[in-house]
Symmetry: C2
Subunit: 315 residues, 2 copies
């Protein structure tokens, strides 16, 4: 569905601001609590909490993160879930979201309705109240920016730093080929993230959003390199499909395609890996793979990540 | 300064993502703390707090909130301060901000540098760490969306609801003509807001951002109307200047021009107004005006707000 319309009567500009805001509150329904805990005041209010608060922001932009082929409900799902993935990447769980929309006057009301109904559905699924927002005109296009507040579940949250030379490198799920549908159908690894934050053998955590080859650098300790076993990299079926189409290898897709939204983390060198992996399997059906370790120099038979490049945002 | 350039060498696209992010961290300097309390991880972390948390989001969009006549530093100041005004409007104070930028590849690097240096300066002034953000390409234009987390100073925060029939209506500062410069030079009323939250006679609070005539409806109790004394409305010098130019009255400008960013609040009917106003004057130099009260029916000699319309966002 095309987000824009040449027919003024079908566009958001024909609604006017007050009626549009009233419509949005109707579309969001129970996903948006009453003010002061939801839409309707100068700020949304979150009750006090004794845990560390987590804050992340990510947009979806027409022509960049979605196009006419992605249904508006899927655009909304992607917007909320990519922020949820950032909360999962710290081992946290979500508290509330606010959304700012900048939209051309030609945006189709029906597109916007489906977008908000999709947002409401996914917000209910993950129990994230849509607590506020803003709507503004812009000349062209459609940019939706969502900010998510989360918090750590216990006293501990995980960051990208903490891995040491010798640590094992793990990744969830399978990688690559996200463009074929995973980029809006993925499940943010929230339960896995909070579980990892409670395991002392896990030393660092992040999500894979720009491709493993690019993102893994952020987890790599100083004076170390990631030595990956190429046969261990979990390659998605979509990456293999893409490889058949374009002649690149499935491995290259797995390492460099963006928007996997899987968790990438390190486990201390002295950890009991069998015990850790058994505990994971008792708790989750999610695939878990040890793909290598951080070493002082690159193992002679390891994969050289410098041969691959991840997703570049500003082209 | 024009935000865009036809010269590719001067544009953000020539920098590439990693160098641009490194440049932004340099431009922000001390305004952006180290991760996990600032930029550099999947989320920014805020330490636990025993107060209610406040959450607000507002963008600035090229062609809508600023144009070539507004210096980039002023655009950044406006972006942060309009969010600060929302925090002030609940009687809170700010904790941390995240900023999402969606920008055309043709955005001028020098414009962006001045924007971030301006943001850093105003963030230091108001002691708001810039804790994270996101940068994305979009086909055209420039949209900067800032989300601000704040908190109540004490156990109490104020909302738009709470006024009762008979209550007095107060406004800070002088209104109208913001377009002549106040829209980016204003001072968010943070100290005033937290002080008001500590005064039991104050029953409701908001900021005036779309013009008093439009915004006052949100403060008006059910089954009441605002009876305003037209000679009491504080009219800014800029509103008088505009009136001379365009033939509308200065009062019309004061009531309907957007972006005053002043505080509007109600004081209980049984409060000692003299005591309240004296306490204000001992504490603040900011002008304070009682402009009327909420009555059951419109006083015969009161101003009829229905004759005026505030700023409409979606045209």
């Amino acid at each position: 569905m095309h987000p824009f319309t040449a027919n003024t009567a079908e566009s958001v500009s024909s609604l006017g601001e007050l009626r549009l805001i009233a419509a949005i509150r109707r579309w969001l329904g129970a996903a948006s609590p009453k003010s002061p805990f939801g839409i309707g005041d100068d700020c949304a209010v979150l009750p006090p909490s004794r845990h560390s608060q987590l804050l992340t922001v990510d947009p979806v932009v027409y022509g960049e993160h979605f196009d006419d082929a992605v249904p508006p409900r899927a655009v909304a799902a992607k917007l909320l879930k990519r922020n949820l993935s950032d909360i999962a990447a710290m081992g946290g769980h979500p508290r509330a979201a606010v959304i700012a929309l900048a939209l051309a006057p030609t945006v189709n009301r029906r597109w916007l309705e489906q977008f908000y109904r999709g947002l409401a559905a996914i917000a209910r699924t993950y129990k994230v109240p849509i607590a506020g927002g803003d709507i503004t005109s812009q000349r062209d296009g459609l940019t939706a920016t969502l900010t998510l507040v989360g918090e750590s579940r216990g006293p501990r949250f995980l960051t990208r730093t903490g891995a040491k030379t010798g640590d094992w490198i793990y990744v969830t799920g399978a990688l690559g080929g996200s463009i074929l549908g995973h980029h809006h159908r993925f499940t943010p690894r929230l339960a896995e993230g909070t579980w990892l934050a409670g395991r002392p053998e896990v030393r660092s955590l992040m999500d894979v959003s720009d491709g493993l080859a690019k993102d893994l650098h952020a987890l790599t300790p100083q004076n170390a390199v990631p030595s990956l076993c190429d046969s261990a990299i979990p390659i998605s079926a979509a990456a293999r499909t893409l490889a058949k189409r374009d002649g690149r290898t499935a491995l290259a897709h797995a390492l460099t395609d963006g928007e996997d939204f899987e968790l990438l983390f390190s486990v201390g060198v002295r950890a009991d890996r069998n015990k850790f992996e058994s505990a994971w399997r008792r708790r989750f059906a999610t695939r878990l793979t040890c793909i290598g370790r951080f070493t002082r120099t690159l193992d002679p038979d390891a994969l050289n990540l410098f041969d691959f490049h991840g997703y570049e945002h500003l082209r």
